[in-house]
């Protein structure tokens, strides 16, 4: 028996939660229950329970949806792009990234249904779907991405499931699950060949689909005439922002998991340093798109654009806008350019700012535009001129975020957070020790 190999398995096999983990799950469930209560009220009384009205016709449900789509893109970045470029250092992060991607894309789909006035008619999208509508494009690419992401999470798990089914004999029920899910993976040459090939194929396929999900989401706005959305910059601007949000999310999850599971041997300071470098590059790319998005229209200052941009720069939304730009983008670049800023704790804090900034940035993309239509806002109650979400709307939104975190938490509970097989392979522990031999 190879003791180093056994140590890897012992370190990385899923473990039961400590009391902290259980409290965390209970907390999430509580938030979700409050959200479900609010959603039942929404089903009963209609969207009137939200702060949305005829002018602010979309609100935090939609900006939250955009946020989820954005975060889900990271699966393709960390896993596919880095895999294809043979950046082996990212192996311990691939599963975290894929878990986040799957959780986020599931919740993106749910978030959009929550926003619908008639969720009972969701099947109309398939019965009467019109290919001319960007919403149908979104339905197609998001479901494609969901399937690819699940496969992308699942395939690299096959050898890990076999390993776990042999090692986690304490819990027989779980062992059975692992064995069934391993699809009789034995590590034979033939299987390994198909396995590597499949992962490579999905890595290639998932990149255009990932770009498509966020580009199409950008097009939901860009296909309208409204100032603030009527921009040819929107596709790449959204994709760039998505990588920022997703990378921030990965850093946060890897920091928490490393602490909780003492994974310092696997998720090292060097991983944080490299993720910090990726994040700073992505922030700068996103900043570049932001400059394009805001500076050129304000330079020209057409009447409609000016009203919109003034509300962002100096008006109603200025506080939020500058906090999101400076706190969620400029300051992180400043910190992450220095090696000390890329140490685990500072990077975690910066990522927190980046992710929160990313959430509010989507709010700033969706909401202000709607308060500046072409014709004056008249003949409606004064309150309709401004949008402020109701507590139930917040509760439902918080519940979607909590559900995403719960999905991540449960997957972390039952799946090896760091790929066992690939780690062992990269550390050269499999050389005289094929998986099936040891079993």
């Amino acid at each position: 028996m190879n003791t180093a190999y056994e140590k890897v398995i012992n370190d990385l096999a899923p473990r039961k939660f400590s009391w902290r983990g259980n409290v965390w799950v209970a907390l999430l469930v509580l938030v979700i229950l409050i959200g479900i209560y609010s959603y039942v009220q929404q089903l009963k009384h209609g969207l009137v329970i939200t702060g949305m009205r005829d002018y602010a016709l979309w609100g935090i449900y939609i900006s939250n949806f955009v946020f989820f789509v954005a975060v889900s893109l990271v699966g393709s970045l960390i896993t596919a792009i880095l895999r294809l470029s043979d950046a082996h250092w990212s192996t311990p992060l691939t599963r975290i990234a894929e878990i986040i991607a799957v959780a986020a894309i599931i919740m993106a789909g749910i978030a959009i249904i929550i926003d619908m006035g008639r969720p009972d008619r969701v099947l109309n999208l398939f019965i009467h779907g019109r290919l001319q509508s960007p919403i149908i494009w979104d339905v197609i690419v998001i479901s494609t991405y969901l399937v690819l992401s699940i496969l992308f999470l699942y395939f690299p798990l096959l050898p890990d499931f076999t390993i776990l089914s042999k090692y986690s004999d304490t819990n027989s029920k779980l062992t059975k699950w692992y064995r069934a899910l391993s699809l009789n993976w034995s590590g034979s040459e033939k299987q390994t060949k198909i396995y590597s090939r499949s992962i490579k194929v999905i890595s290639v396929l998932i990149i255009p689909v990932a770009f498509a999900i966020h580009t199409v989401t950008a097009w939901l706005f860009e296909t309208t005439y409204r100032p603030g959305w009527d921009s040819t910059n929107f596709g790449p601007y959204f994709v760039a922002g998505a990588f920022v949000a997703g990378s921030g999310a990965v850093v946060m999850v890897m920091y928490v998991l490393r602490k909780a599971y003492r994974l310092e041997d696997y998720i090292t300071d060097s991983h944080f340093d490299k993720m910090g470098k990726i994040l700073v590059m992505l922030c700068m790319v996103y900043l570049y798109f932001n400059i394009n998005e805001y500076l050129m229209p304000i330079y020209k200052s057409t009447e409609e654009e000016e009203v919109h941009l003034r509300s962002l720069f100096t008006g109603e939304y200025a506080w939020l806008f500058w906090t999101a730009i400076l706190g969620g983008l400029v300051a992180p670049v400043g910190v992450l350019l220095f090696p000390k800023g890329r140490k685990p704790l500072p990077l975690f804090l910066v990522s927190l700012a980046v992710v929160m900034g990313a959430w509010w940035k989507r709010y700033l993309i969706v909401i202000p535009t709607l308060s500046h239509p072409f014709l004056p806002i008249e003949g409606v109650p004064e309150a309709w001129r401004h949008y402020s979400p109701t507590w139930m709307e917040w509760a439902i939104t918080a519940a979607t975020l909590a559900t995403a975190l719960l999905i991540i938490t449960l997957l972390v509970r039952f799946l090896p957070i760091v790929p066992i097989y690939e780690t062992a392979e990269e550390r050269g522990l499999l050389e005289n020790h094929s998986v099936n031999e040891s079993l």
């Binding site: 009384h45 109309n124 019965i127 019109r130 014709l375 003949g379």
Partner: protein, 318 residues
């Protein structure tokens, strides 16, 4: 005000008579005319009828060859619309004094119970030094409707007769059409509309919007196909005390106002320099506006009716 109106009426008399006489009949398509000319030898034996061709010349054709568009009920399908019609509206801004009768009539006849009316009279001023004016604004029934383009389920649709409608039994409530519409004419049923039993139990058809409205779906001006069907004008047109609105058929080149006066559409638009809202967007609206020049009423008169935060009168709860 009244004498002024009489003068106008006189000056337009000839033209009005022509419009009334020929406007109701449609010579339909060029194909039909070709057919008519093809058998011109039989003309003297049949009863003939006088029609106006598309270039404005009058001609005699056999009565049997003329289709009466209004009577072809059997062809009518709420999604297709009235055959061989193309509805247009002209809004004369020179006459609007914000009386808001259009709005109250529309609200009443469509049983609008929400906060946002389907027709609104905006207080407009294009630039600082130019004069303010009142602009009644309803669904523009665009020929390139941005709302229809983005609808994921074909719930909002464009008919052959130019009318844009919503199938509230199909609408999923995504509100993309509202985001897409640059004219802000679409309203959403955020809650149950509570229109009363008679309306709520009425049989739903997309060509009578609001009967009944449905929670979680979008509503808007429907150009009143239910009135057209009866040979009457839309509610806003007949309710206006100042004849601001004229409604008619582009193929007949005729529009009729609430007092029953008819005008040749092309001449009216030419003489009065008609325009459409946000022409540059390419939406091709079916509603034309006549500029608020040579106004017969003062802008200020409308101010007493102006309610910035209200467009639907609600019954006062005691």
């Amino acid at each position: 005000m009244e004498p002024k109106k009489d003068n106008q009426q006189k000056s337009r008399r000839t033209f009005v008579e022509q419009g009334l006489k020929y406007g109701l009949l449609t010579a339909a398509s060029g194909a039909l005319l070709a057919k008519v000319f093809g058998k011109s030898e039989s003309l003297d034996s049949e009863e003939t009828i006088e029609v106006m061709s598309t270039d404005g010349t009058l001609m005699q054709v056999p009565a049997s060859a003329v289709e009466h568009a209004h009577e072809k009920k059997s062809d009518y399908n709420p999604r297709e619309g009235f055959p061989n019609r193309k509805f247009v509206m002209v809004v004369d801004l020179a006459k609007c004094r914000n009386a808001k009768k259009c709005q109250s009539s529309c609200n009443k006849n469509h049983y609008i119970t929400g906060e946002n009316a389907w027709i609104k009279i905006y207080k407009m001023q294009d630039s600082e030094k130019s004069a303010p004016y009142w602009q009644p604004t309803l669904c523009q029934h665009c020929d390139e409707p941005a709302c229809v383009k983005v609808c994921p389920v074909d719930a909002t649709f464009k008919r052959r007769d130019g009318i844009v409608l919503i199938d509230n039994n199909r609408c999923i409530g995504c509100r993309f059409c509202m985001a897409a519409c640059p004219y802000s004419v679409r309203v959403f049923n955020w809650s149950d509309p509570w229109q009363g039993d008679t309306v709520e139990q009425a049989e739903y058809t997309p060509d009578y919007a609001g009967i009944p409205s449905q929670k979680g779906t979008v509503d808007k001006c429907d150009f009143c196909p239910h009135m057209i069907d009866k040979g009457e004008l839309p509610h806003c047109v007949s309710a206006c005390p100042n004849d601001v609105f004229s409604f008619g058929d582009l193929y007949e080149d005729t529009v009729t106002n609430g007092s029953g006066q008819s005008f040749k559409l092309s001449k009216l638009l030419k003489d009065r320099a008609g325009y459409r809202l946000m022409e540059s967007l390419g939406t091709e609206p079916s509603v034309y506006y006549l500029p608020p020049s040579d106004r017969i009423v003062d802008f200020e008169e409308g101010l007493e009716n102006y309610t910035e935060f209200q467009s639907v009168d609600k019954p006062q709860v005691p």
